[in-house]
């Protein structure tokens, strides 16, 4: 089975987020593979290991995204594709990936359920629409038997079990696989695995960010001694004005 895995890079979760004017301040920021994409990649590798085939990692981004593509290769992808363009919006990114998917006949396209920076949750479903194939979002399990694909989705208060057929686009949620740490052999073999750079297909970005706002700063925590409930009541009443 030919599998295409969408990889985006996101700031490491410990990054202090800041903006200069209206642009995200990337100086000194460590970028990592989006954790949900890593889950998708790991499941793709597991499928390849049992069913055979190949796993291609794809990213839409400038040369600074290549380190994380190499990491995807070190984790086990067979080859990688970088579409040489800024990932301006979800539509543009989906159009690039759909274009590559169409030309190369991938049977399964996997993405993460969202990127943990912009949290759009859009790219996977858009790719499916552009390819005119089924889409299952936020899958926590994905099993392939012949042409049949069984997927679990966490839903309010329970689980939904779905069946679909290949070709298919799915987005991965926690639980689909346990991400792997690259091992030394993987890192060494990633040196020589193919990483192809493609120029972008014609597509427009349909949205643009106008501005960013930081969330309000966390208020300080006030400690009330355990033996002074009267003070607690007074603070809740006069200061917080909630009772």
């Amino acid at each position: 089975m030919k599998i295409l895995v969408c990889i985006t890079q996101v700031p490491d979760t410990t990054t202090r987020i800041s903006f200069t004017g209206n642009a995200f301040n990337a100086a000194g920021v460590q970028f990592i593979i989006n954790p949900y994409d890593e889950i998708a990649l790991t499941r793709a590798l597991e499928l390849k290991e049992t069913l055979g085939g190949s796993v291609t990692a794809i990213t839409v981004g400038k040369p600074d995204t290549e380190a994380n593509l190499r990491k995807a290769l070190a984790i086990g992808a067979d080859d990688a594709i970088r579409v040489n363009a800024d990932a301006t919006d979800a539509y543009f990114v989906a159009a690039q990936i759909a274009d590559v998917a169409k030309k190369n006949g991938y049977e399964l396209v996997l993405a993460g359920k969202e990127s943990i920076d912009y949290n759009g949750s859009e790219v996977g479903s858009m790719i499916a629409a552009m390819l005119d194939v089924p889409f299952v979002g936020m899958a926590s399990r994905l099993v392939v038997e012949g042409e049949k694909v069984t997927l679990d989705r966490e839903i309010e208060g329970g689980k939904e079990i779905l069946e679909s057929t290949l070709p298919l686009v799915a987005s991965a949620q926690k639980g689909m696989a346990e991400p792997r740490i690259p091992n030394m052999r993987g890192i060494m073999s990633a040196r020589t695995k193919p990483l192809q750079v493609l120029e972008p297909a014609a597509a427009d970005a349909l949205t643009a960010v106008i501005s960013y706002e930081m969330p309000p700063a966390k208020a300080a925590c006030k400690m009330v001694p355990a033996d002074n409930p009267a003070l607690l009541i007074e603070l809740l009443h006069n200061e917080a004005k909630v009772i």
């Binding site: 290549e66 190499r70 990491k71 070190a74 740490i181 091992n183 030394m184 890192i187 060494m188 400690m223």
Partner: protein, 392 residues
């Protein structure tokens, strides 16, 4: 131990001196330590048990022979990669790093450097995967800092040798499959050889009740008329330069490793000082705490720069033994001082297993002694700069 929240300090943006591959190797080792070592290490130390189940993972992150050529099962990586792996392992625990140092620099390195092609092919691939573990026997009960005085000896008898004597303080000895042993021949020349578990007359009693490196297993090597086939002797080295070559490689790894322990202590102390409130404010706000923390990060940064430069020299085959001595001494001493200061910042919590501090501190008491004591390394620097030998 509470959850591992480690964030590596990089005050001078030294990551920019590393290649993408270096960072990938380091980050993978770091992730592995967080996932596999941190959750179990406290209990392993408390129980004084070596966590054997980690061996496979250690092999997979490249801890066993990262710089040994690929054709012998090694990683074919450079010296900075080796250093970074040691740093991350020791960030977890010096005992785990010790196991890796011994396997890489004291067992695989001499077999690769001094061994015959048959010896290389027989041992190295299995040592690289951790299927076989090795240990290194140099120190004896009466010869520590002065290994040249060793009494362990081999005597030729027909087509084989007979080995007698005893080694002590040997890391990994209780479970090792093979031992690289240094012994004097009949002419009093030091030779290296491989002793295999199961050889008649060879035993490895464990050393108990250590307060340091409790998650690393230490023991003796006792040789009672052990028959050693001639093909187990290293053909390509004679004299003290054999073991000293190994120590050079291991000391280089320790110079990086100890900084890992220092980084962990600093990181924990910094976090704790921001969270711990006394006299109505975080203790990080008191000048005396800031002095401790500021000095810690200054010393860590200096040591990071030193080992990085040493790595560059080592990659170019230009690092001298005296330069390596200086870095080993500096890194370990820095780490030990930082562990002590960090322990103070943690107050009473610093002595518990909730935090890694006391464990690092106790571990570092071994690290500052083995592979040449703090004072011996000072004498090496002293001799190098003055030309005067102050050892004897």
């Amino acid at each position: 131990m509470s959850k591992d929240k480690f964030q590596a300090p990089d005050y001078y943006l030294l990551d920019e001196l590393l290649t993408e591959e270096h960072k990938l190797i380091r980050d993978s080792a770091r992730e592995w330590v967080k996932r596999e070592v941190s959750p179990i290490i406290e209990e392993a130390c408390q129980k004084a048990e070596f966590p054997k189940h980690l061996l496979k993972g250690l092999a997979s992150v490249g801890a066993f022979g990262p710089y040994i050529p690929v054709e012998y099962g090694g990683g074919g990586l450079d010296q900075i990669s080796y250093g970074l792996i040691m740093q991350e392992l020791e960030r977890g625990d010096s005992g785990i790093r010790s196991t890796a140092s011994v396997q890489s620099s004291l067992v695989m390195y001499p077999i690769y450097t001094y061994g015959s092609e048959e010896q290389r092919m027989k041992y190295l691939p299995k040592l690289a995967t951790g299927e076989w573990m090795g240990c290194f026997g140099l120190t004896e009960p009466d010869h520590g800092s002065d290994p040249g005085g060793m009494t362990t000896n081999i005597k030729k008898q027909g087509d084989h040798y007979v080995l007698n004597g005893a080694k002590m303080w040997i890391s990994n000895s209780p479970f090792a499959d093979i031992a690289v042993v240094w012994a004097k021949d009949e002419e009093g020349i030091i030779r290296g050889l491989v002793v295999e578990r199961g050889m008649k007359g060879f035993t490895t009693p464990e050393t108990h009740n250590k307060w340091s490196l409790r998650a690393s297993s230490t023991g003796e090597l006792v040789f009672d008329n052990v028959i050693i086939p001639a093909e187990n002797i290293f053909p390509n080295v004679k004299g003290l330069k054999g073991p000293l070559g190994c120590l050079n490689s291991a000391r280089y790894g320790i110079a990086w490793g100890a900084i890992g322990a220092a980084m962990d202590c600093y990181d924990s102390a910094l976090r704790y000082s921001k969270e711990r409130i006394q006299f109505g404010r975080p203790i990080a706000g008191f000048q005396l705490t800031q002095k401790k923390l500021a000095e810690m990060i200054t010393e860590i940064t200096k040591a990071q720069l030193m080992v990085w430069r040493l790595g560059v020299l080592k990659n170019e085959n230009r690092a001298t033994p005296a330069q390596i001595s200086m870095a080993k001494r500096n890194s370990v001493n820095t780490a030990l001082q930082i562990a002590r200061e960090a322990r103070q910042i943690h107050g009473g919590m610093g002595i518990t297993g909730e935090y890694p501090i006391m464990r690092h501190m106790m571990n570092l008491e071994s690290v500052i002694t083995y592979e040449g004591t703090h004072d011996i390394h000072l004498l090496i620097t002293g001799m190098d700069i003055t030309g005067e030998n102050a050892f004897s």
